[in-house]
C-alpha cells in the first residue's frame, strides 16, 4: 500500500549517502535485503535541533534550510513520518475559519503541488477539489462566510446547489442538502511521502536527519536552550524545536524549567475499503459532511472515510510511550454513528467490502487552534504541535512561519492566534486538557457561530464576586481561564438554552444588553473587570522609568497620579501590547493589560529588560478585583462613598489615586473606563472586594445603578471607535495606522522601541488605516449580523477586513471596525492610504456573501462624545506643558 513506508534503519539523510535514494523511492517494501547502513554518530553541536520527524518537524527543517540555516539536526525517535503523519488521511483543505489558518493551508497546498518536481519524491499529490455539504441553512451561512474569505484571498471557490453537487460526485445522496461549497483546488496527498519529500529536500540542503534517536531532556542555561540529551548522546545547540506531536506535552516537561504545551491526544477513526466494482476515479472530490460529522475521500479505487464523533475517546492522559500507538484497537461500536452517516450520504456503498478501521490518535488543543512559537520561559525553545487533525493542511505554512520566526524574530504574518504564549501554565492541567479536548474534537464539525463559549474547564479563575454576580443572573464567558460576565439576565426573563441560542442573526440577549448600555449612558453601571492583567513595576532608582520609557511609546515621565494610555511596540512599531499605566510613585508603576497578555507581556518585558536592570516586576493580577463604574452618575456614587469630591476639577480624567471607599481603605481609583464613557475603575485588594461591591450597589441604588457585562462594554467601546488589542490591534499594526498618534510621544527626549518605524510612517504615511464603518442598509432584525473577518470593499474592490463589530444602541446601527488597504489596481502592490482615499470611497461590507452599504469614518462621532474627548485632549496637552 502506498501509505506504508519503506523499511529504513538509521540512516543519516544526506545527499552524499548513496543509500537514501534507492531506499526511499524504489524499494519501499524491501526489508533488510539491502545492506544495513551503520548508524552515524550524532554531531556534538548544532545551531538547531528539531525533535520529531513528522510533517511538522520535516517542514520546519525544510524551511529553515531554505532560509539559509543549514546547521540543523532533526531527531526522530522511530522512523520518519511514522506517527500521526503516517496515519493521517492526507486531505489538504483550505476551507478554514481562522484567517491565519487559511493562509497556512493555502501555502501548504501550493508547496505540496510542486514538491514532487522539486525533490523527485512521489508525494501522491492529486488536485481533487473538495465539497463541503450543508444540511441546514445555518451551515450554509457558515460555508458562505468561509467562501467570502477564500475568494478575497484569491482561492477559487463557489457556493453550489445540491444538483451541482450531484454532478460533481456520482455517489452522493443529495436529498437532504440545502447547498454546498466547492473548492476546486483542494488536494489529496500521501502525507508520509510529503514528509519524506520535505526531509529529502532538507537533507540535500544540509540538514542532518537521525532516526531511532529519542530526546530525553533539554538543558537550559541562563534561561536559554543549551543542549539536547538523547539516548545516543548530547548535542549542544542554540535552538530546540519541539515538533513531537502528541508527545509534545511530555517533552515540554523534560526541561529544568517546564515548557507548558497544552495539548491532549484523542483516538481518531477512519475506515478504508476495498475498491468498488468500478474503481473510483482518483480525482473525485473529497466530501466533507460536517452535519454528518464525516469526511470521505477516494482511496485506491475505494474510499477512506472518518469523522469527529460526539463522544471522543481521549487517551494518553497519563502519558504513554510511543509503541502503544501501534497497538490501538479498532472500535466498531464507537464508529457506528459515523458509519451510519456515511451510508446515509452514499447509500450505494452498502455492498462495498471493508478493508480496515484505522485508529489514529490526533492531538487537540484547548481552543481548536494549533500551537506555535517560542516558550515564554526558555529562550530558543520553539514549539510547533497540536494540529487538531489538520496537520497536513497546515504543515507547509506552519513550518514556514516557525522558520521565519526563528530566523527573523517574527513571522511575516500575525500569528498571535496560534502563539504558544496565549496559554499559561493554567491550561496545562491534564484533567483540564482531557475534559477540554473532549469538547474540542466534536466542535471540529459543529457550527462555528459568533460568541461561542467553551463549556468545559470552566470556573477555574474567578473574581471574589463570582457567586454574588451569578446569583443576580450573570451569564458567563471565559478568557484565559477567567470567568467574565457577558450580561445579566433580569429576574423572570428566560433565554434560550445553549444549543438553540446559536445563531448568525440577532441574538436573544439583544434587549438585555441594550438596557445595560442605556444604563451606562444615563445612570451608572458596574462591570467586574478583574480578569485584566495587572503588573507592578518598580525599582530603587530611576531604572523603572528609564526602562519603561524605552519600552513604551507614550511619555511615562508624568506627575505621580497620572494614567497614560500607551502601546508597547516592537521594532516595526507594531503593538505587542496596549495598556494603561499609572504612575504610583516616582519609582513605581501600575500596568493594566488585556487578560490574554498575562504570559506574552511578561515574557516581552523580561526579554527586553537588561539582566541587571534592577527593575522589579510583579504580577499582581490575582491581588486586585477591578470594578468598572461606567456612566454619568459614577461620580456621585463614588463621592458619596468616599466623602471626597470626585468632579473633574478634583479628579480629572486619566488620574489615579488611592482612597477609601466605604470602610475599605487603599482602593486604587482610576478615572478610566475602557469605553470612552465617564467613570472610574476601582482596583480593590481582593479581601475588600465584596464590601466595596456591596457599598457601591447600596449607594448606587438611588442613582439607578445596575450590573452590566462585557457585551455592553463591547458595544460601547466599538461605537466610540476604541480599538482593543488582540481583536483590532496586533504586532503588525502601529499607532499611526489606527489613529493613535496622540498616544505616541515621538520627541520624549529619549529613544524608544519602534520609534524609528513610527517616525518613518509619520513622514511617509501608512499603508493601512483603522476605519469605522456604519452599516447603512442593514436590517438588525432580519439580516445576518457581522462578526469579524468580513471582507471590506471600496468602490467594488477588496481593500481589507473587519476586525470587530457590534450593534450600537446609540446609533441604532451596526458598527464594524477594520483596516483599509490600498492595492494597486493592476499590480496589486500596496500603496499609501491617505485620509482622502478613505473619505472618498464608497464602501460595502460582505457578510456571508451579501454586501451591505457602509459609511466609513476615521474619527468617532463627536456629537456622542464631544465633551469627554475634548477634555482628554486638554489633559494630554497639559502633560506636555509640564
Amino acid at each position: 500500500a502506498r501509505m506504508f513506508l519503506r523499511c529504513l534503519s538509521d540512516v543519516r539523510w544526506r545527499v552524499a549517502n548513496p543509500n537514501w535514494r534507492g531506499l526511499t523511492s524504489s524499494s519501499r517494501r524491501s526489508t533488510s535485503a539491502t545492506a544495513e547502513p551503520q548508524p552515524i554518530p550524532l554531531p556534538a553541536q548544532a545551531q538547531v535541533v528539531i525533535c520529531g520527524g513528522g510533517i511538522m518537524g520535516t517542514s520546519v527543517a525544510y524551511h529553515l534550510s531554505k532560509m539559509g540555516w543549514k546547521d540543523v539536526v532533526l531527531l526522530e525517535q522511530g522512523r520518519l513520518a511514522a506517527g500521526t503523519t503516517r496515519f493521517c488521511a492526507g486531505i489538504v483543505s483550505t476551507a478554514r475559519h481562522v484567517t491565519i489558518e487559511l493562509k497556512m493551508a493555502n501555502y501548504s497546498n501550493k508547496l505540496y503541488q510542486q514538491l514532487e518536481q522539486e525533490t523527485g519524491v512521489n508525494t501522491g499529490y492529486v488536485r481533487t477539489g473538495s465539497i463541503s455539504l450543508a444540511q441546514t441553512q445555518d451551515r450554509l451561512i457558515s460555508l458562505k462566510r468561509v467562501a467570502s474569505s477564500l475568494k478575497v484571498m484569491g482561492i477559487p471557490c463557489e457556493i453550489i446547489t445540491p444538483k451541482q453537487v450531484a454532478q460533481l460526485h456520482p455517489l452522493l445522496n443529495i436529498h437532504d442538502l440545502v447547498g454546498a461549497m466547492y473548492v476546486p483546488e483542494d488536494a489529496l496527498v500521501s502525507s508520509a511521502n510529503v514528509s519524506l519529500a520535505l526531509a529529502t529536500a532538507a537533507s540535500r540542503n544540509g540538514v542532518q536527519i537521525h532516526e531511532r534517536t529519542s530526546v530525553s531532556h533539554v538543558s537550559v542555561q541562563k534561561g536559554r536552550v543549551a543542549a539536547v540529551e538523547t539516548d545516543r548522546g548530547q548535542i549542544q545547540c542554540q535552538y530546540f524545536v519541539n515538533c513531537a506531536g502528541q508527545w509534545a506535552y511530555e517533552l515540554g516537561h523534560s526541561v529544568e524549567e517546564p515548557v507548558n504545551i497544552p495539548l491532549h491526544a484523542c483516538e481518531h477513526f477512519y475506515l478504508l475499503t476495498h475498491p468498488l466494482k468500478e474503481p473510483l476515479a482518483t480525482n473525485l472530490p473529497t466530501v466533507v459532511d460536517p452535519d454528518g460529522r464525516i469526511y470521505i475521500r477516494t482511496w485506491q479505487g475505494g474510499i477512506l472515510s472518518g469523522g469527529f464523533e460526539k463522544n471522543p475517546k481521549p487517551l494518553f492522559t497519563e502519558g504513554r510511550n510511543q509503541l502503544e500507538i501501534h497497538n490501538l484497537q479498532e472500535d466498531w461500536d464507537h464508529f457506528e454513528p459515523l458509519l451510519s452517516a456515511l451510508l446515509r450520504r452514499m447509500p450505494d456503498l452498502e455492498a462495498l467490502q471493508i478493508m480496515q478501521l484505522v485508529n489514529c490518535p490526533e492531538s487537540f488543543t484547548p481552543d481548536m487552534r494549533c500551537i506555535m512559537g517560542e516558550s515564554p520561559t526558555v529562550r530558543g525553545y520553539f514549539v510547533l504541535a497540536g494540529m487538531n487533525s489538520a496537520g497536513i493542511s497546515y504543515g507547509g505554512g506552519a513550518g514556514k512561519y516557525l522558520a521565519e520566526w526563528m530566523v527573523n524574530g517574527y513571522p511575516t504574518e500575525n500569528v498571535w492566534p496560534l502563539d504558544l504564549k496565549r496559554f499559561g501554565s493554567l491550561q496545562s492541567s491534564r484533567t483540564f486538557l482531557r475534559h477540554r479536548v473532549m469538547e474540542v474534537m466534536p466542535l471540529m464539525c459543529d457550527l462555528k457561530v459568533p460568541r461561542w463559549d467553551f463549556q468545559t474547564g470552566r470556573q477555574l479563575r474567578t473574581s471574589p464576586l463570582y457567586d454574588r454576580l451569578d446569583a443576580q443572573g450573570a451569564r458567563w464567558m471565559e478568557k484565559h481561564g477567567f470567568e467574565r460576565v457577558k450580561y445579566f439576565v433580569p429576574p423572570g426573563k428566560d433565554l434560550l438554552d445553549l444549543d438553540q441560542s446559536k445563531t448568525f442573526y440577532k441574538p436573544d440577549w439583544f434587549d438585555i444588553v441594550g438596557s445595560e448600555v442605556k444604563c451606562c449612558k444615563e445612570a451608572v453601571c458596574v462591570i467586574d473587570m478583574s480578569s485584566f492583567t495587572k503588573f507592578e513595576i518598580s525599582s530603587t532608582g530611576d531604572q523603572a522609568l528609564e526602562s519603561l520609557q524605552y519600552l513604551f511609546a507614550n511619555d511615562l515621565d508624568v506627575p505621580v497620579g497620572h494614567v497614560v494610555h500607551t502601546g508597547m511596540l516592537n521594532e516595526k512599531g507594531g503593538y505587542e501590547n496596549d495598556c494603561s499605566i499609572a504612575r504610583l510613585s516616582k519609582r513605581s508603576f501600575f500596568m493594566i493589560s488585556p487578560t490574554d497578555q498575562q504570559v506574552h507581556c511578561w515574557a516581552w518585558l523580561k526579554n527586553h529588560l537588561p539582566e541587571d536592570s534592577g527593575v522589579v516586576m510583579e504580577d499582581v493580577t490575582w491581588k486586585y478585583t477591578a470594578l468598572n463604574l461606567i456612566g454619568p452618575r459614577a461620580v456621585d456614587v463614588l463621592s458619596e462613598l468616599s466623602y471626597a469630591p470626585m468632579t473633574a476639577e478634583h479628579f480629572p480624567s486619566l488620574f489615579c489615586k488611592e482612597m477609601s471607599v466605604g470602610y475599605a481603605n487603599g482602593i486604587r481609583v482610576m478615572s478610566i473606563t475602557h469605553t470612552g464613557e465617564p467613570g472610574f475603575v476601582l482596583y480593590i485588594p481582593i479581601e475588600y472586594a465584596l464590601h466595596v461591591y456591596n457599598e457601591v450597589m447600596n449607594m448606587g441604588q438611588k442613582y439607578g445603578i445596575r450590573n452590566a457585562g462585557y457585551y455592553a462594554l463591547r458595544s460601547l467601546r466599538i461605537e466610540k471607535f476604541f480599538a482593543f488589542w488582540g481583536q483590532d490591534l496586533d504586532a503588525f499594526t502601529t499607532p499611526m495606522e489606527c489613529g493613535r498618534e496622540f498616544q505616541v510621544k515621538l520627541e520624549k527626549g529619549m529613544e524608544f522601541l519602534g520609534q524609528e518605524a513610527l517616525l518613518d510612517q509619520k513622514q511617509n504615511g501608512v499603508y493601512k488605516r483603522f476605519t469605522m464603518f456604519i452599516l447603512e442598509d442593514h436590517d438588525t432584525d432580519a439580516d445576518l449580523w457581522p462578526w469579524w473577518g468580513e471582507p471590506i470593499f471600496r468602490n467594488g474592490r477588496y481593500v481589507g477586513r473587519t476586525t470587530s463589530s457590534a450593534y450600537s444602541y446609540t446609533l441604532e446601527r451596526h458598527v464594524c471596525l477594520g483596516f483599509v488597504h490600498h492595492y494597486d489596481e493592476k499590480t496589486g502592490e500596496e500603496l499609501l492610504v491617505t485620509t482622502d482615499f478613505i473619505n472618498q470611497g464608497d464602501y460595502q461590507i460582505d457578510i456571508a456573501g451579501q454586501r451591505f452599504q457602509a459609511k466609513a469614518k476615521l474619527y468617532p462621532f463627536s456629537s456622542l462624545f464631544a465633551q469627554r474627548r475634548r477634555k482628554d485632549e486638554v489633559e494630554l496637552s497639559g502633560y506636555q506643558r509640564e
Partner: protein
C-alpha cells in the same frame, strides 16, 4: 396508563446506593472494589433492611440483607445491631479492654465500624443507649472469658448471631421503664427477620445465613461465560437437611405437626430467624409478657395467638450456617439478596445479567474485521443491532438496580419489557405484595488483581 421510562427510572433508583473502596496512590489494595445496593418495596412500609460497613479495628468488610416479617421492627434492629456484635466478636482482647476502659473513663471510643448507608437507611436514636448497654455487657463477658485464642471468623459470626437474638429476647422480657422503648423492644422480639451476612477480608469470604435470603458468587469461566455458586443454604421446607434438623430437635410425636404446608408449625416460611419469640418462648412466658405489656400489644391478635401444636419450644433458632470460601481470580462478584429476587429469577440468570453488566459492552466481544469479507451494509446492520441490545444497560449505573429492572421487567425472552416493568411498578400498594415481594440486593464486586496476587 403507563409510567414513562423516566418515571420508572426514578422509582427504581430511589433507594440505590453505591460505594467504591477508596484508592490510595491510584491503587485499590482491597480485594473489594465496591458494592452497589438497592431495594424495591412491595410492602408499605418495606420490611427488608440492608447494611454495609467496614470494620475499623479489624480488617474486612461486612455486608448483609435482612428480610423482616410480621413488621419491620426486628429487621430494623438486626440491621443496626448485628454488625456491632460481629465486630466485637472479632476484636482481640486488648482492643476490647481498650474500648471498655474508654467507656469506663468517659473517653472517646475507638470507632468500630464505618457504615456505608443510603440516606433512607436510618438508625433508631431512642434505642441507641439500650442497644449500647446490651453490647457492652457482651464485650465485658468476652473480656472475662478471655480464651487467649485468636478469633475464628466462623465462630465469631455464630456467636454474634446467637448473642444478638438472645439480647433481643432478654430485652423484651425485662422491658424498659420508657414506654416507647418498652413497646419497641416488644415489637422487635415479636416480629422476625432473616439475615444473610458476608464478611470479606482479603481472599477469605465467610457467609453466615439464617433464613431464606441467599448469597451467590458470580464466577467467570475461561470462555467468558458466567456461572453461579451458592454460598448459603435456604432454611426453609425445600431444604431436606433443614427439615431433618428441626425434626431431630423435637419428639417424634410432633413430626407431623412440625412442618405443614411447607411452613414451620404451619405458620412460618423461614426455619431460622431472629426475633419471633412466639416460636421460642414457653407459653407461660409469652402470656406473662403480653399481659404485662402495653395495651397495643395486648390488643394485637397476632401476638396473643399461640401457634398450634406448641409443645416443646424453642422451635426456632437464629444460629446461622456459615460457609467459607477462598476467593479466586475468576470470582468476580457476590450477590446477597432477599427471597424477593430469588423467587423471580434463577441464580444462573442473575450471574449472567450481573456479569454482563459489570464487564460492560466491550466484553460483548469487540468486533474485528480481520480477514473476513464484510460489507459496509452488513457491518452497519450488526452495529445497529448491538446498539439496540446494549441500550438498556446504559440506563443503570448500579448493578443492583439493573438486576431489579430485569427481575421485575423481564419478558419470556429474557429481555426487559418496558410495558411489563411499568405495569408491575404502578400496582397499587395493596396489590403489589400479591405480585412481588420486597426485594433487597447487594452486589459486591471483587478486585481480581488483588485476589490474584495473594
Amino acid at each position: 396508563f403507563y409510567l414513562t421510562p423516566p418515571q420508572v427510572n426514578s422509582i427504581l433508583k430511589a433507594n440505590e446506593y453505591s460505594f467504591k473502596v477508596p484508592e490510595f496512590d491510584g491503587k485499590n489494595v482491597s480485594s473489594v472494589l465496591g458494592f452497589d445496593s438497592n431495594q424495591l418495596p412491595a410492602n408499605a412500609p418495606i420490611e427488608d433492611r440492608r447494611s454495609a460497613a467496614t470494620c475499623l479495628q479489624t480488617r474486612g468488610m461486612l455486608l448483609g440483607v435482612f428480610d423482616g416479617h410480621a413488621g419491620c421492627a426486628c429487621a430494623q434492629a438486626v440491621s443496626e445491631r448485628l454488625f456491632y456484635y460481629i465486630a466485637v466478636s472479632l476484636l482481640p482482647h486488648e482492643t476490647l479492654l481498650e474500648i471498655e476502659n474508654a467507656v469506663e473513663s468517659g473517653r472517646a471510643l475507638l470507632p468500630i465500624l464505618q457504615w456505608h448507608k443510603h440516606p433512607n437507611d436510618y438508625f433508631s436514636k431512642e434505642a441507641s443507649k439500650l442497644y449500647f448497654n446490651s453490647l457492652r455487657t457482651y464485650w465485658q463477658e468476652l473480656i472475662d472469658l478471655n480464651s487467649g485464642e485468636t478469633t475464628d471468623v466462623k465462630e465469631a459470626l455464630i456467636n454474634a448471631f446467637k448473642r444478638l437474638d438472645n439480647d433481643i429476647s432478654l430485652e423484651a422480657q425485662v422491658g424498659d421503664p420508657n414506654s416507647f422503648l418498652n413497646y419497641l423492644v416488644l415489637r422487635v422480639a415479636f416480629s422476625g427477620a432473616t439475615a444473610c451476612v458476608a464478611h470479606v477480608d482479603g481472599v477469605d469470604l465467610h457467609v453466615a445465613n439464617t433464613g431464606d435470603s441467599r448469597a451467590m458468587l458470580g464466577v467467570q469461566e475461561e470462555d467468558g461465560s458466567w456461572s453461579a455458586v451458592n454460598l448459603s443454604y435456604d432454611h426453609n421446607a425445600q431444604n431436606k437437611q433443614e427439615v431433618e434438623r428441626v425434626k431431630m430437635e423435637h419428639p417424634k410425636s410432633e413430626e407431623k405437626s412440625l412442618v405443614k404446608q411447607d411452613r414451620l408449625l404451619g405458620l412460618l416460611m423461614p426455619f431460622r430467624a431472629f426475633g419471633d419469640v412466639k416460636f421460642k418462648w414457653s407459653i407461660e412466658l409469652q402470656k406473662r409478657v403480653v399481659e404485662s405489656g402495653p395495651d397495643q400489644l395486648n390488643d394485637n391478635e397476632y401476638t396473643k395467638f399461640i401457634p398450634p401444636n406448641y409443645h416443646t419450644p424453642p422451635y426456632l433458632t437464629a444460629e446461622p450456617e456459615v460457609i467459607y470460601h477462598r476467593l479466586r481470580p475468576q470470582d468476580k462478584f457476590l450477590v446477597l439478596a432477599t427471597d424477593g429476587l430469588w423467587e423471580t429469577m434463577h441464580r444462573q440468570d442473575v450471574a449472567r445479567i450481573v456479569g454482563e453488566y459489570l464487564t460492560g459492552v466491550h466484553h460483548q466481544q469487540p468486533i474485528a474485521v480481520g480477514g473476513y469479507k464484510v460489507t459496509l451494509g452488513q457491518m452497519h446492520g450488526l452495529l445497529t443491532e448491538r446498539r439496540a441490545r446494549i441500550s438498556s444497560v446504559f440506563e443503570d449505573q448500579n448493578a443492583a438496580t439493573h438486576l431489579i429492572r430485569h427481575a421485575v421487567g423481564n419478558n419470556e425472552f429474557g429481555s426487559v419489557d418496558h410495558e411489563r416493568l411499568s405495569k408491575m411498578l404502578s400496582l397499587p400498594e395493596e396489590l403489589a405484595r400479591m405480585y412481588r415481594d420486597d426485594m433487597t440486593i447487594i452486589v459486591v464486586q471483587f478486585n481480581s488483581h488483588v485476589i490474584g496476587a495473594y
